[in-house]
């Protein structure tokens, strides 16, 4: 019979056991009777020689091997009954644990989706991202297309390698004009990832070169929305940037690459774009490759280095300083988010510890009121092990109930947080609940149950008559000491979390008060594309941009507007080399500046201060002298104290330009960019002086910035319809206020503030409840003593002081310990901080004060209640 059948046939087994033993007794008795005893004597003798009947039965049950399970089930039933008798206790414990376990499950589900889970491609372990970078610093620059082609030809480490470049484009037909995200890819792209198309075929090698027929692969959603999901989509025409493309394939639903759903794929090799034809340009091309079997990443990297050196010899300008580097694709996709997530995991771990300490204290309090119950059970023969097990079963029952509620909380909370927190997480769409998370919740629930249950279980006091047991008071004192130990630990842990949250608040406050160099209020930004009709003609493009600006500027509620290829704090950066002399050295030796190409009106719209000279006007046209404006940082860097007006700079791609003005510096990459060293300076080149070959690439999209009289959101519709113009075929996308752009640029820190703040708040509440509960319990235990004291003349203030001093001692120790620990631990988050040191005395002092005040309030309430006790009532208590 298998053990589980024995378990479920318990009743039959019991009957058989009884029958077997009875048979023995009766045979023995009848043997005795045969030797001449009376029936009664014989039975008695048989019983004596047999031994303790019930004990034998119990030993037989134990020999069966399932007793532990049976008694555990009994314990479980008993635990359910006991907890149902004290629902308040059970509810408090389950809620506390649910918060702790839920927070941990939520963070684990994010770590699982972002870091642990494999990328959704075929055999993702062999996929690598390859990038071109500076040999000296390792700074990634993205591929120059010609370098990519050379690299592709020479490398032997990869089965396949493909380039991918993200670019916006205007999709005008079929359907409404729309600015779409396209991916310009080389022909091996889908086979590198091992992705099969839903319909049609991937690009052929002969379509990936100049002069090939224009073909396109569309994403699933474009197929559904613009072609109705019809299967005759192959061979249909799609118009991108005014050019007709033939659909040859459809990517599968949900296909994502590099943290975004891509809708349109075009072969990069057939595009006629100046930035793809010139080795100097590094237009955001990244390569993805699949390692050959047996080739390690290290081998691939050393080969990449050799190719880099070969190209550097072949093209000293511009490739002298370049090399190539491969890293696992997953690492490339995730970026540097892992330490931040592990920091959060640490924070929720602390929350769970606080929850455990709280519940352990609840159990300890309960254990004192259950002395009688356990003493009776011990007297009836329950072993110490059995009693400890009973208590552990109770705590495990609570922790699993808490885990179940926590699971639901985590499910809802994660969903909410991913929807409402700033979008800072890579792969956030891959965060979903799976078997691994369930396992995590089960394991952490079990561990939690043991952690908070073991101490109360071991300390359960057993004595039938407390008055007779000399050790009873000592044990009680031990439990009270244990309780205050737990409370002190909670306060210390809460202080660590509060300090973390405090430092984030200071960081955010610091960032919000950073002056971006312009007035970010009342600014509306968007990306605008041009009508497909003008796309091939640079002169028309210039005219169209001018018309759009004129239309927007005359819109009611608009005070100013300009266009630029680069939006401040929009997440991008364009860089150029410049030289102070006409004799240009190789670019690797030349300094770098941020390049803006604004139309006139930039200064007035942004309210950037003019330091010297003038800004561009309508007169800076293609045919007039090449003019540039530089920012104050660049002026200081290049000219020191001298006046730069009238001097010249040689700017990469543009040539010799005359400096006509100096303006104040603005933040481009992030508000905290000065944390990474001094700014490199900026060059402003007049938009309407851009040469024809650049003018073409502006047609697919430029940033438009509008200064509004009132709230920027109020004029969105008006501005949009002004942009659209009479033909309504100019796509507009990414409409946002400048304040939103700035908020997004510090999204990760804002998310961290919300999360750390939530966890810190949670820990503050839990710790306050903890100390409140313990002091309340103490006042109740000593109510008779208080009665006696007051009857003997103690004043309420003295009683108040009695309990307050006990509580304040705990607070003092907890806060001191927590302050010391957080002084060390906050170093871990220094990467997230800005403008505040991890050891910032203001913050540390502030949170110590906050915690001390809140905790003192929590002990004041029960202490005051005790002080108001009516002595007569207190004496009659119990």
């Amino acid at each position: 019979m298998t053990w589980w059948r024995r378990l479920f046939n318990k009743r039959a087994l019991e009957a058989q056991l009884e029958k077997e033993l009875r048979f023995h007794l009766e045979r023995q008795a009848s043997d005795y009777m045969r030797s001449g005893r009376t029936e009664k004597e014989a039975l008695r003798a048989a019983r004596i020689s047999f031994g303790a009947f019930e004990e034998v039965k119990e030993e037989c049950r134990e020999a069966r091997g399932t007793l532990w399970l049976e008694s555990t089930l009994q314990d479980l039933q008993f635990a359910v009954r006991t907890l149902r008798k004290s629902p308040g206790f059970a509810l408090a414990a389950i809620c506390t644990l649910a918060l702790g376990i839920g927070a941990n499950t939520a963070i684990f589900s994010v770590i699982n989706g972002v870091i642990l889970r494999a990328l959704p491609y075929h055999d993702p372990a062999h996929l690598v991202a390859v990038d071109e970078c500076l040999r000296r610093t390792g700074e990634p620059l993205a591929f120059s297309y010609l370098d990519f082609l050379d690299f592709q030809r020479q490398t032997r480490s990869f089965e396949t390698i493909a380039a991918a470049r993200h670019q916006g484009a205007n999709l005008t037909d079929p359907g409404e004009p729309e600015y779409v995200h396209t991916l310009q890819v080389s022909h091996g792209f889908f086979s590198v990832l091992g992705v099969n198309l839903e319909v049609g075929r991937t690009f052929r090698a002969d379509e990936d070169r100049q002069g090939a027929a224009s073909v396109v692969i569309i994403g699933h959603s474009v197929w559904q929305q613009r072609f109705g999901g019809r299967h005759d989509v192959l061979g249909q025409i799609l118009v991108l940037n005014g050019k007709a493309y033939t659909v040859v394939g459809v990517a599968p639903a949900g296909f994502r690459y590099d943290n975004g759903e891509r809708q349109i794929f075009v072969p990069i090799g057939q595009l006629d774009d100046v930035v793809l034809r010139t080795r100097e340009f590094h237009p955001g091309i990244r390569a993805v490759a699949r390692l050959k079997q047996g080739i390690t990443l290290q081998q691939a990297n050393s080969e990449a280095n050799v190719i880099g050196q070969r190209l550097a010899r072949e093209y000293p300008t511009p490739d002298g300083e370049m090399t190539f580097r491969a890293e696992p694709l997953k690492q490339y996709v995730i970026g540097d988010v892992a330490p931040t997530l592990f920091l959060l995991a640490g924070a929720v771990g602390l929350v769970l510890l606080i929850a455990c300490a709280n519940v352990a204290n609840l159990f300890l309090t309960r254990s004192l009121s259950r002395v009688r119950e356990f003493s009776v059970r011990a007297a009836l023969g329950a072993s110490r092990r059995r009693l400890i097990r009973q208590l552990l079963v109770e705590s495990l029952l609570l922790s699993f109930a808490g885990g179940a509620v926590g699971w639901i909380l985590a499910l809802q909370g994660t969903h909410w947080a991913l929807l409402h927190l700033p979008d800072w997480l890579p792969r956030s769409n891959e965060v979903s609940f799976d078997f691994r998370i369930l396992l995590f919740t089960l394991v952490i629930s079990a561990l939690t149950g043991i952690v908070f249950g073991i101490v109360p279980a071991l300390r359960q006091q057993v004595t039938l008559n407390p008055a007779l047991a000399p050790g009873a008071r000592a044990t009680t004192r031990g439990i009270l000491r244990l309780q205050s130990g737990f409370v002190i630990a909670e306060l210390a842990l809460a202080l660590i979390l509060l300090t973390g949250a405090g430092l984030m608040i200071r960081t955010l406050a610091g960032l919000w008060s950073v002056n971006p160099g312009f007035d970010q209020h009342h600014l509306l930004t968007m990306s605008v594309g041009l009508s497909p009709k003008v796309l091939q003609n640079p002169a028309l493009i210039r005219a169209d941009w001018q018309q759009i600006l004129d239309r927007v500027r005359s819109t009611p509620g608009v005070e100013g507007a300009y266009i630029d290829s680069l939006l401040p704090l929009g997440g991008d950066n364009d860089e150029v080399h410049y030289w102070t002399t006409a004799a240009t050295t190789p670019p690797k030796d030349a300094p770098i500046a941020t390049l803006y190409t604004p139309s006139p009106g930039c200064l007035e719209t942004m309210k950037i201060p003019l330091i010297a000279g003038r800004f561009f006007t309508e007169h800076d046209r293609l045919e007039s002298q090449r003019s540039i404006v530089i920012d104050q940082t660049l002026a200081h860097r290049v000219f020191g104290g001298q006046n730069p007006i009238g001097r010249t700079l040689s700017v990469q791609f543009v040539g010799i330009s005359h400096i006509v003005g100096v303006i104040g510096p603005i933040k481009q990459i992030s508000l905290d960019e000065d944390a990474n060293g001094p700014s490199q300076g900026a060059i402003y080149f007049p938009f309407f002086q851009l040469p024809d070959e650049f003018m073409r690439s502006t047609a697919s999209g430029m940033g438009l910035v509008v200064r509004t009289a009132g709230s920027p959101t109020a004029v969105i519709q008006a501005v949009k319809s002004s942009v659209l113009g009479p033909d309504r075929d100019q796509p507009v996308r990414d409409v946002a206020t400048m304040e939103q752009l700035i908020a997004d640029s510090i999204g990760r820190r804002r998310a961290m503030l919300v999360l750390l703040g939530t966890f810190a708040g949670l820990s503050l509440v839990l710790a306050s409840i903890g100390i409140y509960g313990v002091i309340s319990y103490w006042t109740v235990r000593r109510v008779q003593e208080v009665g006696v004291r007051m009857a003997l003349g103690a004043r309420p203030a003295q009683v108040l002081q009695l309990f307050l001093s006990q509580g304040l001692r705990m607070i003092a120790i907890g806060v001191a310990g927590g302050a010391a620990a957080s002084f060390v631990l906050t170093r871990l988050m220094s990467r997230l901080l800005y403008g505040v040191s991890p050891a910032d005395p203001m913050t540390h002092f502030g949170v110590v004060l906050t915690l001390a005040i809140v905790a003192s309030a929590a002990i004041y309430i029960p202490a005051r209640r005790a002080a108001r006790t009516d002595p007569m009532v207190a004496l009659r208590y119990e």
């Binding site: 048979f23 031994g51 303790a52 004990e55």
Partner: protein, 116 residues
């Protein structure tokens, strides 16, 4: 529990004896107890009750198989019989016991002089 006034036999040894008795053919608990006393000429005084946990333990390990059958008095009783696994166990335990008894005997036969 009071200690039994009769000489207890070591745990494990009882198992060996029970297996040996059961090897002679299907037998119920009472008969095993009787047989043990008779065969050992009343030297081994098994507390009769303690026989049953041993039987259940051996059944649980698969050394014994049990079956309810009519006994010699006409009442149903639980009969135990040795399984193949039990027979192997009996063989190896018997060997062990023999070696152990020999070794203990050797040590006990040492004279004082041999120890110094």
């Amino acid at each position: 529990m009071k200690p039994s006034p009769k000489s207890d036999i070591p745990q494990g040894t009882l198992d060996l004896l029970v297996l040996k008795v059961a090897a002679l053919g299907p037998i119920h608990g009472y008969a095993i107890a009787q047989r043990l006393q008779q065969v050992s000429r009343e030297v081994l005084q098994v507390q009769q009750g303690s026989l049953y946990p041993a039987l259940h333990r051996l059944e649980n390990k698969g050394y014994l198989a049990a079956e309810w059958k009519e006994s010699e008095t006409g009442r149903e009783a639980k009969f135990y019989r040795l399984t193949a696994k039990g027979r192997a166990q009996l063989r190896s335990e018997t060997e062990n016991w023999g070696r152990l008894a020999e070794a203990v005997g050797l040590v006990l036969r040492l004279s004082e002089g041999d120890l110094s």
